[in-house]
């Protein structure tokens, strides 16, 4: 884990909410789904904000999360990270499906480029389009998500922890049978301590007991999760 400071270079309204642009940190090895905790000193922020990478250019990164309204271009952020477990994309994947559920933060977008770079076909299941999607990506509505397991050999999902049951229903998953392909899910839940405390505020119920999203996640193997949280 590293620590440092960013200056917010730009703030824009993306499809998954407000996005920040900051200087890239090319020396950091970062998996999609891992997060940073950041706060702006002097702005009365009692907790740090979890930020997820949505675009990783050579010189700038775009980050997304539930951005405090006091943050403006020029605001300096103290950050630490990357934290948690990210998506582990199988290099052999040739048919990749991505499905951000309602309230998601565009954190799956970096997986698009990763999939395309390994010559995989990519389907994006969503009822809204992110600002940037390569033309080679097929877009399908969320109500066809149940077909994903018939086609894909790798599925990445993103949702709020409370939305797991409706997402599972859309997939046709009962919480017991094995998913139709390797399926990982980024679960949004308060990542307040950043893995320092085992405090339990981000606890996720899995088939192997309670796990902490801040350090064991926020990306989980869907097959490991219990539907009732």
């Amino acid at each position: 884990m590293a620590e440092g400071e960013w200056e917010i270079l730009e703030i824009s309204l993306g499809d998954g909410g407000i996005q920040l642009m900051v200087s890239a940190l090319p020396h950091l090895s970062l998996l999609p789904g891992q997060y940073f905790l950041a706060f702006a000193a002097g702005r009365d922020e009692p907790t740090a904000t979890a930020l997820f990478l949505t675009a990783n250019g050579e010189t700038e990164w775009r980050l997304n999360g539930f951005i405090p309204p006091a943050w403006q271009p020029g605001t300096r952020l103290c950050w630490r990270g990357p934290l948690g477990r990210g998506f582990r994309f199988p290099p052999s994947a040739r048919r990749v499906a991505l499905a951000p559920w309602a309230g998601s933060t565009d954190s799956l977008i970096p997986l698009v480029n990763e999939a395309l770079s390994q010559n995989a076909a990519v389907v994006w299941y969503s009822d809204r389009l992110p600002g940037y999607l390569p033309a080679s990506v097929e877009v399908l509505p969320l109500d066809t998500l149940a077909d994903a397991w018939n086609w894909a050999d790798c599925l990445a999902l993103e949702c709020d922890l409370r939305d797991l049951p409706p997402l599972a229903a859309a997939l046709g998953w009962d919480g017991i049978r094995r998913p139709g392909c390797q399926t990982e899910i980024l679960l949004h839940t308060p990542l307040t301590c950043g893995g320092m405390a085992d405090c339990g505020v981000c606890a996720v119920r899995t088939k192997r007991g309670w796990k902490m999203a801040c350090k064991d996640g926020p990306v989980f193997d869907l097959a490991e999760l219990e539907l009732t949280q």
Binding site: L37, P46, R80, P190, A197, C199, G200, V201
Partner: protein
Amino acid sequence: MITPDRSGLEIAPGWMNAAGFLGFAPPAEMSSLPDAPVAFVTNPVSYSPRTPAAERGASAYPGGFILHTGLPNPGFRKVIELYASRWAHASLPVWVHLLADRPHEVDRMVRALEEVDGVAAVEISLPPAADDDLKLQLVEVALGELPLVLCVPLDQAAAGWVNQTVQAGISAICLSAPRGCIPDPGGGFIRGRMMGPGIFPQALQTLNCLWGYEIPLIAGCGVYTRNNLESLLSTGAAAVQLDAVLWRGWERD
């Protein structure tokens, strides 16, 4: 009744973590923490395992947030099994924080801790809904060979039962986060412990008003700057417990 050994508690002026904010054993990597702590306080440990609260969450309000976790832990036996060796090898004194629910459970946990290397003190918190008699009973069974630190929520620091526990022989009082609630947008209330810089003035005021207890007072709650910490120490706190600032980072003075 066992005669308490108050002299056993050594507190250097400085900071330590509040229970629940740095895990069950001292972190291997301390570089992200401010300066050097004077002690390590474990996450709260109950006799039986506790699962996370169904309504867990961190809900912001101006000046702070309500933290509700359910204080999950694997239970006393499992905690000892997992962490006792790290306590024994810790480079700083370890205070084990116990959730005191039932007198016979507290008695068993405290007696067991007396045999564990590296444990410098027992810190206990009492059930919010317990009556004064039960609170006093829980404190009395927790007294023993190890120094006993009693966590008292800020809003109860002047309550009569606190003075009774001092007379009973506790070694120190630790001022801890009060409970609060905010309206839930979906109806009802979000309840939990109040965190954040908004409660620091109440912590300082409480410390200012607590005269007459001839035992060390450990202050905490809402400390987000080094100036906050120094203010509490100069007002008479024997040490200061840091909570959510450890997760976030120091506010500039």
